[in-house]
Amino acid sequence: MSDVKPVHRYSLNPLFWTAAAFAIGIVLASYRLLDFHIAVGIALTSSFLAILLSKFRHSGLLIIIAAVAVGSLVFYEEQLSITDDRIRTIYDTGQLTSADVITVFGRVSSGPEPAHQGAVIEVDVSQVKKRDAEINSSGRVRFFINADSEDALADLNALGLKSGSVIKAYTSLDRDERYHNPGVRSRRKMLDHQRIDATATIKSPLLIEKTADGAMSPLNAVYDLRRDVINDIRDRFNTSTAGILIASTLGDKYFLDSRDSDVFRSGGTFHILVISGLHITIIGLIVIFIVSRITRNRYARFISATAILWSYALAVGAEPPVVRAAVMFTVLLFSHVIYRNASMLNSLGLCGLILLAIRPSDLFNPSFQLTFLSVLAIVAVAVPLITQMREIGAWMPKSDTPFPPQCSQFFRRVCETLYWNEAAWTIEMNRQVWSAKLFKSPLFGWFGVDALRRAVTTVVEGIIVSASVQLFLLPLMAVYFHRIPLLGVLLNIWAGVMLAAESVIALLAILIGQISDLAALPFVRVAELINWLLVASQQFFITGFVPDVRVPVYSGYAAHIYFVYFIPLIFIAFAVLNWRPFERQLKIGKLKIFSMALSLILLAAFAAVIVTHPFSEAVPDGRLTVEFIDVGQGDAAFITFPNGEKMLIDGGGRPNMSGDNDIDDLQPDVPRIGEIVVSEFLWEKGISNIDHVVGTHADADHVQGLEDVLQNFNVGNLYVGNDDKQPSESDLLLHIADKRNVPITRLTAGQILNIDGVTINVLWPRVGENSALSDNDLSLVLLINYGERTFLFTGDIEKYAEAELVSSGQLLRVDVLKVAHHGSRTSSTTDFISLSKPEFAIISVGRRSLFGHPHTEVVKTLTESGAKIIRTGQNGTITISTDGKDLRHSTYIPEMP
């Protein structure tokens, strides 16, 4: 009807497009696709032209081009800031290693942050002294100060470390990659994303000397208060409640119990345990609410709200995700202050520009991506959708909306059910001089109770928000966490509400507790009850219904699906943003309906592919392939049979040094080898089921990892030895196998497994073997034979078992020997080695073994027998494959020539 040319859509949200272009520039620079000098040239000419030609309609495009170039430039500039004196450069170039004992001089930038059995500080290092060489340096190092006794804690407090304190400490720095396997997350990259150059442990507060106090900072009072509150919470509440409260309200995640954390991870609600954008938003909204009641002045509101919010963000540690969220909130608030009808998308674009301009490498930071996409989902899909639904449901004839909305009948009825308030309409009509009859047809009445309608509507809106976020985050969840929490949408709302309630009651308990502990007690108990409910209810939903789905990832060309997924999603977001049901159109374009339907179908299809991951595994190549995974101290060998069947022998694990723990003791949320190394390794191969899993013997560094494997994968069979000791370190593994309905088979010497032409002989232990033998000596020993090639897996057997095997005559020459007990002198006797005379001797051991493995005697024996020794700790994953005749080997880290 109108002759006015529609304004070009991109000009409605110019900052968003600029930010997108900026991001593209960063990506181009990171892949070296846009040369530095070319970028400078493009940036200058585009900006110049844009100013010259500003009257032309498409001059905006020139700004976009300039933004791409500037993005690249900012990325290059950040690379330049990695100067030669940075600790990370000093370390990466080999001037410093993790074995060097050094003296570190620096200034405390944050901390001390209370942690389990110690404290954590971050230090801006100014100098490092190695032997007598002094190296000037820069960069930030994160230290864990070990203080596991009352005396040590007293010494730590006596040091009086604060932000700004200048210290000198004796320690060793660590920037090594821990587990060198294909697909395992790089530790260095994670540290870089956190802006940390290296980590280190200081074994005692006595190894630290404070040489000067920093300048007085008002922040120190805040940090002290935070520390006092943390200690108060730990005294007042039980372990689980304390951990969750301290993490979610004060930003200290070191007291989270691993059992609780696992429940939250499975439910897809872990992010509410750590201070993140969600917290900042909620706290920000609360602060706004309070401030609005106090003053009407927009500027006063903005300044006071921002001040409070930033104080909170700084007080809880100013971690990058928190700072990002605070920046976003400040910008969004600011855009309201300057009276513009703030386009949230535009504000989000501005946030993106600011954050990426400060730290371009954040674009590749999973944490940044998750935060940004969540907010984008809310701003681009959830909020517009909810706004439109409200307008449709509560429509009354008004000057700007004289006609009823144009949308599907069913959809209109749903909106009216949720948002139509008959009473409000009656009041409105009584005010007007005209009257009208509106044909509203809600699906059902609310028994006349409007409060019920509002309550349900709030829940529905919550579900829409949660679902949008899950949709946007789906590929990232699959790639970074290998987890699709199916109940995430509902659990997030449930858990969020419960946690908010718990926090409020806990706050009351703490405040009242300052006056009287007795009076606070009922509040403490209620908070603990809610906490229990919070964890138990999620646990119930997960075990009772469908748990989270663990998904492997595609590699190679198929991995593009994780990007392609966003194309229909962006199209749908566009459609929702530009949907104007109140702008009467004579005919809704067929093209529009068709493209919308196509987008929805494509999105659903891509999502299904990501979740069900068809054809994600590699095609079987007819070879028997054995991969010895680098799990540090421990064993884990992954075997692929010629027809594609899979077997895992042992899964690594961390030995439990602390002995028997009280169930109430805190189990720190330390990442488990079975999850971050073995499962990760398998997921990167596109695997989600394993036909055979073998646990050679009941030692944590062999079977602990299998606990995670059995939870995360569909396992066909579990094989264990026949030791019946109680209690055994395999108990939990067997329990999990039982719960997951995995058949358990006990193997004894003499049994043979035939898998696709490959023979697996069980050589040890014999039936009725003396059960007084150690766990190690009762390890399963497997001889795997394919064609002319043999592999011998020995677990942790020691002298006795080896001697018995030698005298039994079953031991023959083998091609590949997995050296027993990580090369310890308890094993690998001369007789055993000379009889097996392996071509390859694989030692599965950490880069620096606490026990000194492999022992020099063993290395000598092996070398003298002519074996080629390869260690997982040095070379990472060791791959040996055969077609029955040949023998090929390769390592993840190339061997020294």
Partner: protein
């Protein structure tokens, strides 16, 4: 008991007496907590105990220190050679196997003579 109190002091007096009793009990209990535990200097070294010098002791002498066996003694000597000796006794904790807890129990038995570095 209460009847006796009531007869002696009247209703209000009864309350006052009970209150005084509670107050007295609290005071007594509080006072008993104020007696400080005898502060014993845990780390006071009797003059007769001979300390081992980390910078000059040989393998045998090092092994007289609790928790220090042959392997640890070797490590101490290796540390000495690699880093030019110990600047203070606390640096012993930098050796693998010497934790903060262990160190605290033996710190009175060692010293680090920097003139011997």
């Amino acid at each position: 008991m209460r009847i006796i109190l009531h007869k002696l002091f009247g209703t209000n007096g009864q309350k006052i007496v009970v209150f005084c009793l509670i107050l007295a009990t609290a005071l007594v209990m509080g006072c008993s907590k104020e007696i400080p535990p005898s502060a014993q200097a845990k780390n006071a070294v009797p003059a007769t105990v001979k300390t081992v010098d980390l910078n000059s002791a040989d393998r045998e002498e090092l092994q007289t220190i609790p928790y220090v066996g042959a392997v640890m003694a070797d490590r101490i000597i290796t540390f000495r050679e690699a880093n030019g000796g110990f600047e203070n006794p606390e640096q012993l904790m930098l050796i693998q196997g010497m934790s903060d807890k262990r160190f605290r129990s033996i710190r009175h038995l060692i010293r680090a003579d920097i003139s011997k570095k």
